[in-house]
């Protein structure tokens, strides 16, 4: 479904991503791991258009999407959440998700109908599924960090993506919140038939959930394989697992 081939990106002289390869098949739950600064977030930014790749190809359902602006990529069916909380702090929780649903339904430019009647049901379903219904009317900026991270995912769901990309969905969460969030992610993958690509620090989390793991080190893809195989991989052990 998503294929990343030999992608490179440098900032000034620093090669943040230097030969990344990734394959995500339909319905899979794929994880990207790697130490800090390995280029995981940069890779995600390249896929979803926040950055343009210098080299290499990114294709989604056979279509070249490398270098398209983010809103175009989103319309093709890729939605994402961000590592650092990136929401609309002055809007309510409900409105945060609704903005994405409106965009999905191509109604963002509608002028004459009051917004509080539009896309209400869809928005409520999403809030229900992530467990934020009770906080729908709260101003998003006043939520706890954990809830804001969940809201991140909810906004991304508002776009009804085929591929959902989550950049460290549990960053900064307590262990309980982390496991609850991973449960949520698994459930979303099952019930909505979503394809999910995520990156994560917590090794245990990754190995228990992901069907396929891609390991990055210094901007380069070391390997992409099933969890068991990744664990056995020599290079990975040296670069990452052993280094901790």
């Amino acid at each position: 479904m998503l294929r990343v081939e030999a992608v490179e990106k440098s900032f000034d002289d620093f090669k943040a991503v230097n030969g990344a390869n990734l394959v995500v098949g339909k319905g899979e739950l794929v994880a990207v791991i790697g130490p800090n600064g390995a280029g995981k977030t940069t890779l995600f930014n390249l896929i979803t258009g926040q950055l343009k790749p210098d080299e290499g190809r990114i294709t989604f359902k056979g279509e070249d999407i490398g270098g398209l602006p983010p809103y175009e990529i989103c319309k093709k069916g890729i939605a994402r959440s961000f590592q650092i909380v990136n929401i609309f702090p002055r809007l309510t929780v409900f409105e945060n998700v609704q903005v994405a649903v409106l965009s999905q339904q191509r109604k963002s430019s509608e002028l004459l109908h009051p917004a509080h009647n539009i896309a209400v049901e869809e928005t409520e379903v999403i809030l229900e599924s992530v467990g934020l219904s009770g906080k729908a009317l709260e101003v998003a900026g006043s939520l706890s960090h954990g809830d804001q991270k969940i809201l991140e995912i909810a906004i991304a769901l508002g776009n009804e993506p085929e591929l959902l990309i989550l950049d460290e969905p549990t960053a900064g969460m307590s262990p309980e919140e982390t496991s609850a969030t991973m449960e949520l992610i698994k459930r979303l993958a099952d019930t909505r038939g979503l394809t999910i690509l995520f990156c994560e620090h917590d090794m245990e989390v990754v190995f228990s959930v992901a069907q396929s793991i891609m390991v990055m080190h210094q901007g380069r893809t070391l390997v992409q394989a099933e969890p068991q195989e990744v664990r056995r991989n020599k290079e990975v052990q040296e670069a990452y697992l052993g280094g901790e």
Partner: protein, 273 residues
């Protein structure tokens, strides 16, 4: 009455707005004095010209971010001011244009007052609808976080441009109303000081609220009227108020009171659940 006018374009949008107001006013004044077209053509042309100007200036400006956006807008706006100021044969330079003829229906004080009131009400209602529409909501989202908006599939620049075009249309309408009221135009209408004043109105009243700018305009105009009686340095008082405001009420007067009421409203909502 001038208060009403100020309210009419009370700056829903925080742009360098005076220019479009001025363009609307100049267009209608020129149409009515230099051509023999029917009056309503001039009335329509004012907002249209303002919108076109808004589109052109906006088209350049949305390519830049924040501070640069504002700077470019101010410089392009000043360009228009310079044209009006220098082009004596067309615009009368710093004298402006006086004695713009009005149709008989609007010539009495009372009639023009009601005309302005009606148009103003329509505009306010339209703006309210727009603010509450999906477009308005998306715009608020862009204000909060443009990057995230792109990620949910919104073409941020195009959306901002649409907002500018809509806002300039209303500024143009206000410009027309100004001519109806004053029968004259002068380059000050296009000058950035006026834009600054509008901006302060929004700031003072509370920029995240619909009625905030109206309240801000009321505060400024009454300051000018009442404090202006005692001293010509009424802006000094305004300055002090602004400083206090920035420190104590960063959301503006309206924002402050809404903030006070919100917990209350929530409580009521909880109880009724």
């Amino acid at each position: 009455m001038s208060l009403n006018l100020v309210v009419g374009y009370g700056g829903m949008f925080q742009f360098h707005h005076g220019v479009f107001y001025g363009v609307g006013a100049y267009t209608v004044a020129l149409m009515l004095t230099k051509t023999s077209l029917p009056v309503w053509v001039g009335f329509v042309a004012g907002p249209v010209m303002a919108t076109v100007t808004g589109f052109l200036i906006g088209w350049f400006c949305v390519r830049l971010t924040r501070l640069y956006f504002a700077m470019l807008q101010i410089s392009l706006g000043s360009l228009i001011w310079a044209i009006a100021f220098r082009w004596y044969t067309l615009t009368g330079g710093d004298d402006g244009i006086h004695g713009v003829p009005m149709p008989a229906l609007l010539s009495s004080q009372n009639n023009s007052y009601y005309f302005i009131l009606v148009i103003l009400t329509i505009c306010l209602m339209a703006m309210y609808l727009i603010v509450k529409s999906p477009f308005g909501r998306t715009l608020q989202a862009i204000r909060d976080n443009p990057q995230r908006c792109e990620a949910v599939g919104i073409n941020v620049r195009r959306h901002q441009l649409k907002a500018i075009v809509i806002a300039t249309f209303f500024a143009g309408v206000a410009g027309v109303l100004f001519v109806v009221l004053e029968r004259s135009v002068f380059p000050d209408l296009l000058f950035w000081v006026l834009s600054l004043e509008v901006f302060i109105m929004c700031l003072l009243g509370g920029w995240f609220t619909f009625a905030g700018p109206i309240l801000g305009a009321a505060i400024i105009v009454s300051l000018r009227t009442f404090v202006g009686i005692y001293t010509e340095y009424w802006t000094l008082v305004l300055g002090v108020i602004l400083i206090l405001l920035i420190f104590f009420l960063p959301e503006g007067v309206m924002g402050y009171f809404l903030g006070k009421f919100r917990p209350l409203a929530k409580e009521v909502a909880h109880r009724s659940e």
